[in-house]
C-alpha cells in the first residue's frame, strides 16, 4: 500500500512539475501566433494542438538567423516581424551578428527581467556573491555587460550585480586596448573577470608583457562568445598559460540565451524555467569525446513580446542529464 501511495504521489509531483512548462509553452505559442513571422511559420501546421513538449518539438518548425534576415529584407521591419506588441519596444539592441541587413533585438521590461535573471544565475553558479567585484571586458552592447546593472541599461531596474550585491566595472572589449584590461585587474582585483573571446590572445600578450600573475588578482576568467565557444583543448592551454581557471559562457543573443560553464562539473548550465533546449537530431551530428553533438535549438520562455520558438543556433552540443550538486535541477550542455 505504501508503495502504491508513493507512486501516486510521484505521479502528482511529476505532473505538477511539468505543468508550468506546459503552461509556458502554450502561452508562448499563443503570443507567437500574434506575430506575422510565426503566423507564417505556423500556417502549414494543420492542427496547432500542442499538449506536451514532445509534440512541441515535433510540430513547431525551427527558425534560423537567415530566415530573420530574409524576413527583414522582405518586410523592412527592423525586428523581422517577430515583435508582437502594438507599441514600440522600450529598448532595441543591434545584434552582433555580421548580417546584411543588420538585425535587432527588441526588449520590454519583462524580457529584460528574464534575461537579467539568466545572467544572475550564471554569476551565482560561478560563485559570485555579496561584496564581490566583477570586471567585464566586453562592449556595452553585449548582454554580458548590459544585463549586469540597472545603471547600465534603462528600464532594467535590477541587473545581476544588484541581485547579488556585487559591484561591476566594464570597459569596451576592444582587443587593442587590452592594457586597460590589465589595469582593471591590477587595480580592481575582481573575483571574476569576463572577457570577450577575441580579446583573450591580446590579453594574454599584455599580461605577459606586464609580468602579471593573474592568480594574484582574479579568481577565474570567463570567456564569452556569441554562438561559439573555446574548445576544451584551447581552454586548458589558456588555463595553463594564465594560471587561473577559465570558464566558458555561451551567448545566443537572438534568443536571449545565456549559459555558463559550471566550475564543478565543467558542463554548461541552463535553466528549465527560462529556456527549453533541444538537440536537432536529424542532421549535422558530430562526435566529440565520444558524445554525439548536434546544433542546439533554443526556446525562450520569458520573452513574450518577441518570442523565440525553436531557434536553430550555430552552436553544437549535447544535452546531459541534470544532477550537478551546484544546480541539481539545471539542464546541462556539453559543448
Amino acid at each position: 500500500m505504501g508503495f502504491g501511495h508513493n507512486l501516486r504521489d510521484f505521479r502528482i509531483v511529476r505532473r505538477n512539475f511539468l505543468k508550468p512548462e506546459i503552461r509556458r509553452m502554450k502561452r508562448l505559442i499563443q503570443r507567437g501566433a500574434v506575430s506575422p513571422f510565426y503566423r507564417r511559420k505556423f500556417k502549414p501546421i494543420k492542427k496547432l494542438r500542442v499538449p506536451d513538449l514532445e509534440t512541441f518539438s515535433r510540430k513547431i518548425p525551427p527558425f534560423t538567423l537567415e530566415e530573420l534576415v530574409e524576413e527583414k529584407t522582405a518586410s523592412g521591419d527592423p525586428y523581422s516581424l517577430r515583435w508582437c506588441e502594438k507599441k514600440s519596444p522600450l529598448l532595441a539592441f543591434q545584434l552582433e551578428y555580421d548580417t546584411e541587413p543588420r538585425l535587432y533585438l527588441p526588449l520590454d521590461r519583462l524580457a529584460l527581467k528574464g534575461y537579467a535573471e539568466a545572467l544572475t544565475r550564471c554569476w551565482s553558479l560561478l560563485g559570485l556573491a555579496r561584496g564581490d567585484r566583477v570586471a567585464i571586458f566586453d562592449y556595452g552592447t553585449s548582454p554580458v555587460t548590459y544585463l549586469a546593472s540597472g545603471s547600465y541599461t534603462p528600464y532594467l531596474g535590477r541587473g545581476a550585480a544588484e541581485a547579488l550585491a556585487c559591484t561591476p566595472i566594464c570597459n569596451d572589449g576592444v582587443s587593442n586596448m587590452s592594457q586597460r584590461a590589465v589595469e582593471i585587474l591590477k587595480t580592481i582585483r575582481p573575483r571574476i573577470f569576463f572577457l570577450r573571446s577575441d580579446c583573450l590572445q591580446p590579453f594574454i600578450h599584455q599580461a605577459d608583457a606586464a609580468a602579471l600573475r593573474c592568480s594574484d588578482y582574479i579568481g577565474a576568467l570567463v570567456v564569452t562568445e556569441s554562438e561559439g565557444a573555446l574548445s576544451r583543448m584551447e581552454q586548458s592551454t589558456f588555463e595553463k598559460k594564465l594560471g587561473v581557471p577559465i570558464y566558458r559562457m555561451l551567448r545566443i543573443d537572438v534568443a536571449m540565451f545565456l549559459a555558463v560553464e559550471c566550475p564543478h562539473c565543467r558542463l554548461l548550465h541552463t535553466w528549465r524555467d527560462l529556456y527549453f533546449v533541444e538537440n536537432r537530431q536529424d542532421a549535422d551530428e558530430e562526435i566529440v569525446d565520444g558524445a554525439v553533438r548536434s546544433p542546439l535549438l533554443i526556446t525562450n520562455w520569458f520573452a513574450l513580446s518577441c518570442p523565440t520558438l525553436r531557434y536553430l543556433s550555430q552552436i553544437r552540443g549535447s544535452l546531459k542529464a541534470p544532477g550537478c550538486p551546484h544546480g541539481p535541477h539545471d539542464q546541462r550542455i556539453a559543448i
Binding site: 519596444p89 545584434l95 556595452g140 552592447t141 548590459y146 545603471s151 534603462p154 559591484t167 561591476p168 582585483r189
Partner: protein, 443 residues
C-alpha cells in the same frame, strides 16, 4: 516656463532660474555638507585637511573653503599605485546603495570612480533638464551611443527612464570601424534624438560620404543632436547642422568627476549645472582665482555627496567662465572649456590652443572642419607653426594668405603654414604635434 516658450515638465525643478544669491546659498550649503562628509568618512581628505591645517568645521564663507588645497589626477594615480587598490578612501562604498565602477580614460592617465545609485539619480535628474533643452520628449526614440562603460551612460539611463523615451543602441562602440552600425540604426530604427561623441559623428559622416550617401538622408528622422567629447566652433556647428539636416545641434561638456555644463537653445556657452558642481577658474601658476572672461585651469568640487568625491580637483582643462548672462534668463553662469592644458602652445608669450586656431580656420568657408595641427617647439617661438591638410592639388596660396591675415587679426600672431597631402595616420585627431616628431617624419 522656459524662455524658449516650452513648459518644463514637473519633474524638472526650477533651480536654473533661481536668483544668483539663492544659487550661491544653495551651493555653499552643499559644499559644507560635502566637507563634513569628507572629514568624517573619507580618509583621503582627512589626511589632506590635516596636512594643510584646514579645519572643515571652521568654514563660514567661501573664502574659508578656498583654502582647501587643490589636487590633480597624477596625485590620484600615485595614491592608487602606492596602495595597490583603486579605493583609497576618496569614496564611501556603503553610502548611496548599489554601485558600478567607472574607468576614466584620458590623456592624463586612468582613474576609477565609484558611482552608486543615488549618484545616478541626483546627477541624472539634474542632467535631464539639458536633454529637455535639447528637445528630448516623452515617447521619442533616442540613439544612445555609449552604453555601460562611459560615465555619461549612467545618468543617461536614468534620463531615458524618467522621460519614458524608447532607446536604440548600435552594436560596438564609438570607434570609426563601427560607424556602419550606427548608420544602420539611424536608417532602420529612425531615432528622433541622438546623443553622441563628436569624433564619432565625424567618422559617421566620413563613412556616409565614402558610401556616396548624403548625410541628411541617414539623419532624416533626427530632430536634434547632443554632442560631447570635443568643442565645436560656431561655423563648424552650422556646417554640420546644414549637412545633417537636423534642426538643432547642442553641445555638452563635463567630466565624471563632477562637472556638467550644457548649452541651451541660445548657444551662448555652456550653463554650469550649479546643483551638482562648484566651478572655479584658477591661474595655474599662482593658484589665484580668476574673474569671468579670463582663461585658467578649471577646478571643480562635486556637490553630490555619494560615490567618489572630488573637492577642489584641478581638471587641468583650460577654460573660462564667460562674462555676462545668457539671453535665456537662466542664472546658471556660462563657461567654455577649450582644451587640455597639455595642448597649450606658447607663441610670442601667448598661450594658444588648437581651438583658437580652429576659429580662424573655420572663418574661411572652404576650410571649415579641415584637419590641421599646431607644431610645438621645445621653447616658445615668435610665430605660430601650422600643418594643414591640403584641400586640392592646385595649391592653397589664396587661402594661406587669408588664414594668415585672420590669425594676425584675431590672435595678433604671425603664422607659418605648411600644407601636407594628408596628416599621417598616427596624428589623426591629434591637434598638437611636437616639432621633433614633425621633423623626424620628414627626414
Amino acid at each position: 516656463m522656459s524662455s524658449d516658450g516650452r513648459r518644463s515638465p514637473r519633474f524638472i525643478d526650477g533651480k536654473d532660474f533661481w536668483s544668483e544669491a539663492r544659487v550661491a546659498k544653495f551651493q555653499f550649503r552643499k559644499i559644507k555638507a560635502i566637507l563634513r562628509h569628507a572629514s568624517l568618512n573619507l580618509p583621503f581628505y582627512q589626511r589632506r585637511f590635516k596636512e594643510s591645517g584646514f579645519d572643515p568645521a571652521a568654514v563660514h564663507t567661501l573664502h574659508d573653503f578656498w583654502r582647501v588645497p587643490t589636487f590633480k589626477k597624477v596625485e590620484i594615480i600615485q595614491e592608487v599605485r602606492s596602495k595597490g587598490y583603486f579605493d583609497f578612501a576618496m569614496e564611501d562604498a556603503v553610502r548611496g546603495g548599489p554601485a558600478v565602477l567607472c574607468m576614466t580614460s584620458g590623456t592624463l592617465g586612468t582613474t576609477f570612480l565609484h558611482l552608486p545609485r543615488k549618484w545616478r539619480s541626483i546627477r541624472g535628474d539634474s542632467l535631464l533638464r539639458a536633454y529637455w533643452w535639447c528637445g528630448l520628449r516623452p515617447g521619442m526614440r533616442m540613439l544612445m551611443a555609449a552604453p555601460a562603460w562611459h560615465s555619461l551612460a549612467v545618468p543617461e539611463t536614468r534620463i531615458i527612464e524618467k522621460l519614458g523615451v524608447a532607446c536604440v543602441i548600435p552594436w560596438g562602440t564609438f570607434l570609426p570601424r563601427f560607424s556602419g552600425n550606427f548608420i544602420s540604426v539611424l536608417t532602420d530604427l529612425k531615432p528622433d534624438f541622438v546623443s553622441m561623441f563628436l569624433p564619432m559623428l565625424h567618422a559617421l559622416v566620413a563613412e556616409l560620404r565614402r558610401r556616396h550617401v548624403a548625410p541628411a538622408t541617414a539623419f532624416r528622422s533626427v530632430k536634434s543632436l547632443l554632442l560631447v567629447g570635443a568643442p565645436m566652433t560656431p561655423r563648424s556647428r552650422e556646417k554640420l547642422r546644414d549637412e545633417l539636416g537636423v534642426s538643432e545641434i547642442f553641445e555638452g561638456l563635463g567630466n565624471p568627476e563632477g562637472l556638467t555644463a550644457m548649452e541651451c537653445s541660445f548657444h551662448c556657452g555652456h550653463h554650469i549645472f550649479m546643483d551638482g558642481c562648484y566651478v572655479e577658474i584658477l591661474d595655474p601658476k599662482t593658484g589665484a582665482r580668476l574673474p569671468p572672461g579670463q582663461r585658467g585651469t578649471v577646478v571643480i568640487t562635486s556637490l553630490i555627496p555619494y560615490g567618489s568625491i572630488y573637492i577642489r580637483y584641478d581638471t587641468e582643462d583650460l577654460g573660462e567662465i564667460l562674462p555676462g548672462s545668457c539671453a535665456c534668463g537662466r542664472s546658471w553662469p556660462l563657461m567654455e572649456v577649450y582644451d587640455r592644458r597639455t595642448n597649450i602652445v606658447q607663441v610670442a608669450g601667448k598661450e594658444i590652443v588648437p581651438y583658437d586656431v580652429r576659429l580662424c580656420v573655420d572663418a574661411i568657408p572652404e576650410m571649415v572642419g579641415i584637419p590641421f595641427a599646431l607644431v610645438r617647439a621645445a621653447e616658445s617661438r615668435p610665430y605660430l607653426k601650422l600643418v594643414i591638410q591640403k584641400l586640392s592639388a592646385d595649391g592653397s596660396n589664396g587661402l594661406e594668405n587669408r588664414l594668415k591675415n585672420l590669425i594676425g587679426e584675431h590672435l595678433q600672431l604671425e603664422a607659418q603654414i605648411e600644407w601636407a597631402l594628408e596628416l599621417p595616420e598616427r596624428w589623426k585627431g591629434v591637434t598638437v604635434i611636437e616639432e621633433k616628431d614633425w621633423r623626424a617624419a620628414h627626414v
